[in-house]
């Protein structure tokens, strides 16, 4: 997690709090470095999720996939200097009214192995036109 990426993201979402931009302000507030706005973990977990969804082995129809929902749970804020390891698991799958619904859970831990946050994405894709579907 780099300072510049956090600043760039904070700027893009209109977050002007100095703890996201100014290292000394972040440290004065008790953080080790700049902290990221709360939706930032989606930035680094979504590309891994996309990679997984595009893998033919998974059997998911990537074209037409829609982001249906998102939730994030924190043990602590993500801060600059963090090196996070993200582990993705399939937390749920269902099919209703022609739509496949997949819930993926992404657990992020820091270099000390401590849990930092858990990111859960709900993805929707049309179930139609699948080979063998009856």
């Amino acid at each position: 997690m780099s300072r510049e990426k956090i600043r760039e993201f904070a700027t893009a979402v209109g977050e002007r709090n100095p703890v996201c931009h100014d290292v000394s302000a972040a440290q004065a507030a008790g953080h080790p470095d700049l902290i990221a706005p709360p939706t930032f973990p989606v930035v680094f977990t979504m590309p891994r999720i996309e990679e997984m969804l595009r893998d033919p082995e998974l059997g998911w129809r990537f074209e037409g996939t829609v982001h249906g929902g998102q939730s994030i749970e924190f043990r602590r804020p993500v801060h600059a200097g963090d090196e996070l390891v993200c582990t993705i698991e399939i937390a749920g799958f269902s099919s209703r009214a022609g739509t496949n619904m997949l819930t993926l859970k992404c657990a992020c831990t820091d270099s000390a192995g401590e849990a930092v946050c858990e990111v859960e994405a709900l993805l929707l894709s049309p179930a139609a036109a699948e080979a063998g579907a009856s």
């Binding site: 893009a12 709090n17 989606v42 037409g64 939730s71 994030i72 749970e73 602590r76 709900l122």
Partner: protein, 146 residues
């Protein structure tokens, strides 16, 4: 004086999203799905035109809460459903900031409890564009000051 008692209303936030905002978010987030920058591609999938990233709308909903608390690190959990897209109008005569999609955010502190000596609150968030809700089940659990 800001109140952090049950039932408190958060100071509302009115955000105008322009094409520039959407493109900037694409760059900052790495989400370059063409429905966020190409009217042609967006229309091919049945949208009226370019739409804002759901995550951009969610980020502003987060800012409603963190701005009220004065602390971007105070959110413990935060979840939404993306129920409707937010179409963002094209630039007019090369001027982008003249027009945009106006998103109205408001919130209520629904409940307050003390867990392990820390005051936490559950906030219900409302996010409206063009008279309709665009984020469903939008809630945040936060650490309250004091």
């Amino acid at each position: 004086m800001t109140s952090f008692e049950q039932g408190a209303e958060l100071p509302p936030l009115r955000v105008t999203l322009t094409r520039t905002d959407v493109v900037r978010y694409a760059g900052a987030s790495g989400d370059f799905n063409p429905i966020h920058w190409s009217d042609r591609v967006a229309q091919q999938v049945g949208l009226p035109g370019v739409v804002a990233h759901g995550m951009l709308t969610m980020a502003h909903a987060g800012r409603l809460v963190t701005g009220w608390l004065g602390d971007p690190g105070a959110i413990r959990s935060f979840g939404v459903r993306f129920t409707r897209p937010v179409p963002v109008p094209d630039v007019v005569d090369g001027v982008d900031d003249a027009e945009g999609a106006v998103v109205e955010l408001s919130g209520t502190l629904k409940s307050v409890e003390t867990v392990d000596g820390v005051r936490t609150g559950k906030v219900d968030i409302k996010c409206v564009f063009d008279g309709k809700t665009v984020l469903g089940r939008a809630t945040a659990v936060v650490t309250l000051p004091g």
